[in-house]
Homo-oligomer: 420 residues x 2
């Protein structure tokens, strides 16, 4: 047996059944994005390394990106995230665009990470941003978009939660603990990693920042205080707006929700399955300055990103992706012989123009074989146009589920099939 | 003024207006693919160099592909075409798949070529293949898919033609001219380039293959014979099938249509604007063996590919892409004050669930300013919910085109907006 050339590690082949799942998820996020009036955009898949150096976290560029010299000698990066491209595009047309701008995108991204459950090197990501507003209304709008998506794919508030926090609230709380400004951002990063480190290691690292035992104890009770959000006027309003938008049941306050990037400056949020068996489904937040570091004028906004891998695992876990195999509504047109073939093809063309999905037999195999193929491709109906049907200007419609059949006048075929 | 980081040469930014065009074209090719019962699939964007070495033309891999070492040291290629991935995927599941398989795909591709009109380094491509049939019916089906697409985007048979030929017919005609087997494939490649070379250079190259002056003269009259197709039983049937499918007006026989790749073994076709002001819009044909050289068992098929760049130029040339700016059906929900804000948000959520695209004001700016923003985003209607409307359970609906307005009971809002 010959060896088949291998695919690249961390990439996926989307056979039709897998592609149907990807497109099912895409369809939902597209509908939700558009229902909030967001416009679709896209950046290039290739950007200069310089762009990410200006904008992305160091780890992402230096360790997790595919970077290469192109034939002209330039350092090119396969996009590991979309925000830098978004920033570049906004900066380039900052004087023409209407703000606040509501933009969304979906496409492939690449990160050179160890492939594991929920993580591939090539993945698809939904990005959605509201740019040019500092209001808490914009934060709530993006959180509502996230919740609307979860609701639309069938993920209930009993299955998934949107955890939220406000970095400014944390900053203020840190101040009250007597933590100096220099240690605050390092401490934020440690809070972000609290679930990833053993408790003793984590405490040691906190003390290593110069906190004393009393501050550590106070910090731990702070991070366990699920009512902390009530001290933030912004979060109180956020929750109230989410209530008005009918999304409050998805909310779960979590003082330990920080998000990794330095980039966020206000409200942040992440969606998780309630048992946290999976990584974050999506995450985002408020940023103070999208375009400043790529050459534009400071512009605040809020946005989130969702990869396709974790959400699909979560949806499969809860059995929420419909069985695409049963969803085909294909009509199979058989070919009786060479004389009737033109009529079969004409009927197929007419049905396509009327909006049906139609597959025709490729030649005059025995009818039984043709019908067997129709079953194998899960067609719902098969049409037979033999010499009798041709003479009477009729079509025999066979229902492949019920195995019933009806003779339908040619002129009524479209309406017959529509009413089935 | 600060400098904005540049994008990579040969890539494109898809701002919403450009993205709408890309998605308009995508929508048409998706609908047409599905109407013929094709299933969507996708391969990875990254493949090993080995895969292309086995399958693609030498020029494409050696000179026109982005190839790089990943961090693990493997030689990775940004896919310059989809067929090798398709072949790999089919070969891997050759024993499970149902044949003939009808598959289509759409996604990004990369070629390191000099950017020029109709050519970018990063582009999108539609691929569609019928795999596992050697029948002329399958060739005609793919040609009909191509013509159905052109018809669906508004390109008429007076504007574009599908030029077709049969390599086996050419092979036979070359034999009759006394051309030996060894020279045939070199001659086919020269015929493919006849429009790209000056006549004298072309003739010199033909003579360089060992043809004599008599053969050259006969070849030239062969390549001018628009009735040559009638000598091919397969092409006669192809044309007759295309007539049955209602696509014959798009056909134009051209004995010089060859397609560059060695890969094609039978009928080939290419779509062009009639004045040939642009490159080929799409091209494809019949192949004898898709998977043999990547490790599968020989399998014939037929397919074509269409890049997004040329077709968009042609569509714009003929003024066929609708003005997307006038197509927005967004409803803008104003916010009167903090008291009425919850009701505004509730109404917005209800309308989204009812299928409308709804943008809300982010806070309580002056109503005049909010309505001005609604105009700038080309919303069709604006809703006002002030204290009076709140008390009467009504909504003021302002038509932003006609500037008329109506008070609509809250309970009838959805049906009112649907009937507008």
């Amino acid at each position: 047996m010959k060896t088949i050339v291998k695919s690249v590690k961390g990439t996926r082949d989307f056979y039709p059944d897998e592609m149907a799942k990807r497109q099912w998820i895409y369809g939902h996020l597209k509908t939700v994005s558009e229902s909030f009036g967001y416009q679709q955009y896209d950046g290039p898949c290739l950007e200069t390394l310089e762009l990410y150096a200006a904008k992305s976290g160091e780890e992402l560029v230096k360790e997790q990106s595919f970077v290469f010299n192109d034939r002209g000698g330039d350092l090119i990066t396969l996009r590991p995230e979309l925000t830098p491209s978004l920033a570049r595009m906004i900066a380039e047309k900052q004087n023409e665009l209407v703000f606040p701008a509501r933009w969304w995108s979906y496409g492939p991204f690449w990160r050179y990470e160890r492939p594991q459950r929920g993580r591939t090197r090539e993945f698809f990501q939904w990005n959605i941003d509201l740019i040019g507003s500092d209001s808490v209304e914009s934060d709530a709008e993006l959180a509502a978009v996230a919740c609307s998506f979860m609701r639309s794919v069938g993920l209930s508030p009993e299955q998934v939660k949107l955890r939220y926090n406000d970095r400014q609230l944390m900053d203020q709380a840190f101040s009250e603990l007597g933590i100096d400004s220099e240690s605050k951002s390092a401490l934020l990063r440690l809070v972000d990693r609290i679930d990833k480190l053993p408790a003793d290691v984590w405490e040691e690292k906190v003390l290593g920042l110069g906190l004393d035992q009393r501050q550590l104890t106070a910090l731990k009770s702070l991070l366990a205080d699920v009512n902390l959000w009530q001290r933030s006027e912004r979060l109180v309003k956020f929750v109230s707006l989410m209530r008005s938008m009918g999304q409050v049941e998805y909310l779960e306050y979590d003082p330990r929700t920080i998000r990794g990037l330095d980039y966020y400056t206000g409200i942040v949020f992440e969606a998780y399955d309630v048992n946290q068996e999976f990584r974050a489904i999506l995450g985002g937040g408020h940023y103070g300055n999208l375009v400043g570091d790529v050459g534009g004028d400071p512009l605040p906004g809020v946005g989130f990103a969702m990869g396709d891998v974790v959400v699909q695992l979560v949806l499969e876990h809860f059995g929420l992706i419909p069985d695409m195999k049963t969803e085909t509504e294909t009509i199979f047109v058989t070919v009786f012989d060479d004389q009737t073939n033109p009529e079969s093809l004409r009927i197929a063309s007419d049905l396509r123009l009327a909006g049906f999905k139609v597959v025709t037999a490729l030649g005059t195999e025995k009818l039984g074989k043709q019908l067997k193929f129709a079953d194998r491709i899960r067609a719902s109906k098969a049409l037979v146009i033999g010499p009798d049907e041709l003479a009477k200007e009729e079509v025999m419609v066979k229902d492949l589920q019920t195995h019933s059949q009806s003779s339908v006048p040619r002129a009524q075929l479209v309406s017959f099939l529509r009413n089935e």
